[in-house]
Symmetry: C2
Subunit: 233 residues, 2 copies
C-alpha cells in the first residue's frame, strides 16, 4: 500500500478511493468539434495533455455539481453553466498517485467566442483539440480518451433527438447557424427542410420578432431556444 493511502479511513475503517472530478468541455470551433485539454505541470503524466479535473473537496463542495463548478473555476478561470453528469469510473490502476482512483465525469457544451479560458492551478497550458484526434491519441493522460469518446457519443444522441444542449449556442442565432453546429457535432450533413420541420414540430426554437441578421446576402430571421418546449414521447 502506498504511504499516502495510510490515513484514508471511513466510519468502518476502510480506506476510501481517491475521488476526483473530470470535465469534458466541448465546443464547435473553426467548423470542427473540439475538446478543451490541459497540459499537466505535475506528475503523473507531467507535460501530457489531460482533461481538466480536480479533487472532490468535502470541506468546500456542497454536491458533486458544486465540485465540478469549483474545479472549472480553479482550472479554467471561468464558470461553465449546464454541466451534466456523464458517468463514474473507478479502479485500482487508473491513477498512479493512489491505490484506487474514482472519477466523476461531467460534460458541458459551450461557445467559445469572447470567452477565454485561462490556465489555472497546476496547469501549464490549455488548448482546444479536435475530438477525432483526441480520441485516437494514445498519449493522452489516464483513461481520458475513453471519457471524451463517451461524452461525444452522449452529446450526439442528444442532438439526434433534438435536445439541444444549452450553452452550445448564442442566445440569438439563425437556423443556418443551428444546423451548421448540429452537423459539426454529429459529423454529418443534415437536410435543411427535414431539420427545420423537426424543429417546428417540437417547438424547439421561436423567432425573435423583427430581429434579423444581415450579412453579405439575404438577411436571416433570428431565433432563440424555446425553454419550455415539450419533448415528444
Amino acid at each position: 500500500m502506498k504511504n499516502n493511502d495510510i490515513n484514508k479511513k471511513t466510519p468502518n475503517n476502510h480506506p476510501m478511493p481517491f475521488t476526483r472530478i473530470e470535465v469534458v468541455v466541448l465546443s464547435v470551433i473553426d467548423n470542427c468539434l473540439q475538446v478543451l485539454l490541459a497540459k499537466r505541470t505535475d506528475a503523473p503524466y507531467a507535460g501530457k495533455w489531460a482533461l481538466p479535473g480536480g479533487v472532490v473537496r468535502i470541506d468546500l463542495d456542497s454536491s458533486l455539481e458544486a465540485s465540478a463548478q469549483r474545479v472549472v473555476a480553479e482550472r479554467l478561470g471561468m464558470t461553465i453553466p449546464n454541466m451534466e453528469q456523464l458517468c463514474a469510473v473507478g479502479g485500482p490502476k487508473r491513477d498512479p498517485r493512489a491505490d484506487w482512483a474514482l472519477s466523476i465525469v461531467f460534460k458541458a457544451l459551450m461557445r467559445v467566442e469572447g470567452v477565454t479560458a485561462n490556465a489555472g492551478k497546476r496547469i501549464e497550458a490549455l488548448a482546444w483539440r479536435s475530438v477525432a484526434e483526441a480520441i485516437e491519441d494514445r498519449t493522452l493522460a489516464f483513461d481520458h480518451a475513453e471519457l471524451i469518446e463517451r461524452a461525444v457519443n452522449t452529446t450526439r444522441s442528444q442532438i439526434d433527438s433534438l435536445v439541444i444542449p444549452p450553452g452550445l449556442l448564442d442566445e440569438q442565432f439563425t437556423l443556418g447557424d443551428l444546423q451548421a453546429i448540429c452537423e459539426q457535432v454529429l459529423g454529418k450533413k443534415l437536410d435543411k427542410s427535414s431539420f427545420r420541420r423537426k424543429l417546428a414540430i417540437r417547438n424547439v426554437v421561436e423567432p425573435i420578432g423583427g430581429a434579423m441578421r444581415g450579412g453579405a446576402f439575404r438577411p436571416a430571421q433570428l431565433y432563440r431556444l424555446n425553454e419550455t418546449y415539450e419533448h415528444k414521447g
Copy 2:
C-alpha cells in the same frame, strides 16, 4: 468535524468522501413493478427500509462494477448479472455517519421465480415493495426514494425504445409474457399488434423452433431474446 473523518486523507491531504454503492433491484411480481428493500439493523435509520448497499472496498474491488457485485453478494446472498450504473450523488447531508457521503447507484432488473434473496450482513430482513408505494414513502432511509424514482424512469425509457433490459425475462417466454411485463414496468396498456410489429421490425426476439407453451387455451410460440439485434438510429 466528526471523529471518524479525521483520518480520511488523499495524496494531497484532503479528506475523501465516504463512498458507497447502492443498488436498485427491480422486478415484476404479482403483476406489479416492485423494488427490493432491506431493513437496516444499524444506525442510522435502524429499523427503517433502505436500498441494499455497501462501502466501496479498495482492497477488494477492481472496479465500480465489481464493487456492486460484491455488495449484492454480501447483502443478498446472490449474484445479479447485468447491473447498470445509474448515477452518482454526493453531498454533506446525505448520511449522518460521515461529513460527506458519495453513492454510486446501480440498477438491475430480474425475475424472481426460484431465486430467493437472503438477508446478509447488517440486514434484518429483505422485502419486495411496490415502486409506487416506495417512491411516496417518506420514511425510507437516506435519499433512496429519489434514487428508486430515477431507476424506474430510466428503465421505462429503455422499454419505450424496446431495449429490453436483460435479466427481466426468463430465457424462454411468449410474446404475451413479454407484453405483460412491459406493461407492468410502464404502468400502461400496450396494443398487441403494434407491440409485435415493433418487435419484428427491430429483430428484438426470435422464435424457438418448435417450442410451444401449452396452457389452458391455445398454445403459444416460445421466443428468446435475439442478442444481436440492431438498434435503429
